[in-house]
């Protein structure tokens, strides 16, 4: 199919295009020169007075896996209240608001103009389930990161200071699970949680019974990641999440990132790790200190993990914190233990405007986004569904673009928290170009996919979003409502050269694929024999059943890396 998008204001930061009026030509799922397409046959979309951007990329969103599924089961009450009817043959039905079903996840992202999502925390043993669900998410391109922070076999290698064994194991694990990168969640906590300990484990504390600290794990895995040349940096959820005073831990963690010009450590949902003070009563914001450090060091990137008020379902592999949160929220809790790999907890939570802590959390998230000067190293996320469902992105974009909107919100928030926050004194407003950076170009670059994703240059995948927004006429600072309206429902979303959304309605639910990293050289036979023995000690299943075949992925797209 050939498409010509005419006369749109194009925002394409990877090619340094800032709101110029351009034509975008699409042929066979790729972007081509305008001269290459046959104008008679091509579908012509008139985008004059509209904004054209690459498709959005969400770097951190829990959309699939056993944890999400348990969250769905726990939130029955929202599934019978919120549903989308099927529309044969264009789209299927689905339910859910905070933890939507797989089909709905795809449709809702596509309606906002997003075309790729990364599931950031899949325990390797359960990654088969994650892939099954990812296969069911329509339209979007997907990738998943595996949890390696508390893997007993890996910790044994680390304890023995066996660097090569460690590297080989990580390489094998990535190949066996068909995943895209490594995620660390509160390194070491899940091991300690097996003994009912682990709450508030600091980055320099020893992980009993091993002779290592979370810092060692971070350092070693950063090194392995560089040696294996993985496209995505280590995706780190810092220690002591959600505990007042944790910004000091975060600062210490940042220092473990290997020095480099490129990003070597990605700190995810930093908002939850940027609290000052020493109790819930005198909680404050640590965003200034953290962003100062991020601004000074090019090897760090962050995503904000913004909260929005209302119900959310917190789900994280930081099981002890979830157990503590359950005693604050007092609604329901599920704890999960994944053999010798990870643990998780799920607790639904309601963020309230008049609550001191919740209002401050809301401010801190925006402070982080506004205080980091380089938009290429900050990304918008809500840590869906932890902070808010991903459908709140339009609102967060508007908040970043309009100081007036932020000021209007302050009047509704807890007064003490507004006094403690830095946000009221920040005047910065994001431009549309910067929004295109933080939601499209920066995540693509961080995933190492900036040759095919996140831009509209010739040769890129034809993932395009067109929004009904005229940057020449609208003052985003004043008319923030029109920003929300435009981003809520994209006028057109084009995925792999197919129009999937037209006038905010999903009209096609195909064309998704799953990215994973693959290595040219398979692990050595000797290592596999060793591993087979080790596997018998730690796992309930055989090694052969653990490995996921490429045929189990819907539309697999391997990215070959060296190492």
């Amino acid at each position: 199919m050939e498409i010509l998008i005419k006369n749109g204001y194009v925002y394409d930061p990877l090619n340094k295009v800032n709101g110029e009026i351009m034509d975008i030509a699409i042929k066979d799922g790729k972007i081509v020169e305008s001269s290459e397409i046959n104008l008679r046959k091509a579908k012509i979309i008139d985008a004059s007075r509209k904004v054209v951007m690459p498709g959005g990329i969400d770097i951190h969103s829990h959309v699939a896996g056993p944890k999400v599924n348990t969250g769905r089961i726990m939130m029955v009450s929202e599934h019978y209240r919120s549903y989308m009817r099927s529309h044969h043959p264009l789209r299927r039905s689905g339910t859910g608001k905070y933890t939507p079903s797989t089909f709905l996840t795809g449709y809702r992202y596509a309606r906002m103009g997003w075309t790729m999502v990364v599931e950031p925390a899949s325990p390797p043993l359960k990654t088969r389930h994650t892939h099954e669900e990812l296969n069911d998410i329509p339209i979007l391109d997907k990738a998943c990161l595996i949890l390696v922070d508390s893997n007993r076999i890996l910790l044994n290698y680390l304890d023995r200071k066996d660097h090569d064994g460690c590297k080989m194991f990580i390489k094998w694990l990535l190949m066996a699970t068909k995943s895209y990168g490594l995620k660390l969640v509160d390194p070491g906590t899940a091991v300690l949680w097996s003994w009912g300990k682990g709450y508030g484990l600091d980055v320099d504390d020893k992980i009993e019974p091993y002779n290592i600290t979370p810092g060692d794990i971070i350092k070693e895995l950063c090194k392995i990641r560089a040696e294996l040349k993985l496209p995505h940096p280590i995706h780190l959820h810092c220690n002591r999440l959600g505990i007042p005073g944790n910004y000091e831990t975060t600062l210490k963690t940042m220092k473990y990132a290997p020095a480099d010009d490129k990003v070597t450590l990605h700190l995810t949902h930093l908002q939850f790790n940027a609290y000052a003070g020493d109790s819930w009563a005198n909680i404050g914001t640590g965003s200034e200190t953290l962003t100062k450090y991020v601004n000074a060091n090019n090897n760090l990137s962050i995503d904000i993990g913004q909260i929005d008020f209302g119900t959310a379902v917190t789900m994280t592999a930081d099981a002890p914190f979830e157990f503590a949160l359950f005693h604050m929220a007092r609604w329901k809790w599920t704890g999960i233990d994944v053999e010798s790999e990870a643990a998780a907890g799920i607790v639904p939570y309601k963020y309230k405007k008049k609550n001191l802590v919740n209002a401050l959390q809301w401010c801190i998230g925006l402070e982080l986004a506004l205080l980091v000067k380089d938009p290429w190293r900050v990304m918008i996320t809500t840590d869906h569904p932890n902070g808010a469902p991903f459908t709140r992105y339009p609102k967060i974009i508007a908040l970043l673009m309009s100081r007036r909107f932020r000021e209007k919100m302050f009047a509704k928030l807890n007064r003490r928290s507004v006094k403690r926050a830095v946000l009221p004194s920040i005047e910065r407003e994001y431009s549309l170009y910067e929004i295109a950076v933080v939601t499209r170009a920066a995540p693509a670059r961080l995933l190492g996919l900036d040759n095919i994703k996140g831009h509209l240059g010739v040769g890129a995948d034809a993932d395009v979003a067109i929004y009904d927004l005229n940057p020449e006429e609208i003052d985003f600072s004043k008319d923030y409502q029109s920003v929300i309206k435009a981003f809520k429902r994209a006028l057109y979303t084009i995925k792999s050269g197919n129009v999937v959304v037209e006038n905010g309605k999903v009209i096609n639910d195909s064309c998704s694929k799953t990215f994973y990293v693959d290595f040219k050289s398979p692990p050595e036979e000797q290592f596999l024999n060793e591993l087979r023995e080790e596997f018998k000690r730690w796992y309930t299943i055989e090694l052969a059943n653990y490995v996921i075949n490429e045929s189990e992925l819907g539309h697999a797209k391997p990215i070959y890396v060296g190492g």
């Binding site: 726990m74 939130m75 029955v76 009450s77 019978y80 009817r85 609604w331 329901k332």
Partner: protein, 289 residues
Amino acid sequence: MGGASVFLIKPRRSFKVPVEAECISPDKFAGLNLEDLKKLKVFEGNRTYRLEELFYIKAVSKNSPSASVKIIMEGNFSKVWRIGEEMSTGEIVIKGNVGPFLGFRMRGGVIIVHGHAGPWLGAEMRDGIIEVHGCAGDHVGAVLRGERSLKGMSGGIIRVHGYAGAEVGACMNGGLIAIDGSCKAMPGVKMSGGSILIRGDCEGKAGARMTGGKIVVCGRVGEVLPTFYIDGIASSVKVKGEKIKGPFYLFLGDVLGDIECRGRLYVSVKNNPDFKVFESLLETMSDDC
């Protein structure tokens, strides 16, 4: 009802799949003339119909639109869901069986059923009266699955003259549920207020995790949970002004729900001869004091 507009509704055919008819409610009927009323939307399975396509509707007596509304329903409505949802005034009389979610989140008015009612009768009720002359299904006056327990029945009266199913008054906060027959397991699970009166037997696990309120069982109880403490023997008990003659064993609990044990469970002495063992506990306690 002197000044009321009275409507008569009968089903046109027997339904095979559920019909979602939340529009059959005096609140929705009020202020509409017959023609508008016939155009209200109902679902049968996944298809939308106008109300008149599935039901005969007749205005028996018509008064000014502002008058209160009485709806008389004749026939088998056992596949019809959500009748009287969120109604706040008026009256519904059903001569026949009726399906699930009758009087769901009801805020006032009266519903009388001369037949059997389905599950979720008066679920999450706020106020009003429901009287069922036949039996009712599971979850009478209960909270919906997964909801916060605060959203349970908080007022009003449900009277069932026949039997009822399991989980009567789950997460109940107020009001009265009176069942003349027996009920299945777990009446008053997680309840924190209000009263449940069961004149027949109960399968067991009465008041599991209750943190307040009152459950009275006049018949046999399979067992009392081990997390309840016996407090004494009451000669009679008052339920919403009505005096029920006993004697009753009074249990306090559930210690799993609340350490203060503010829930009260009354169990008939006469019909539960196995519970004599509890009386010995009472004696030793009084000696110690």
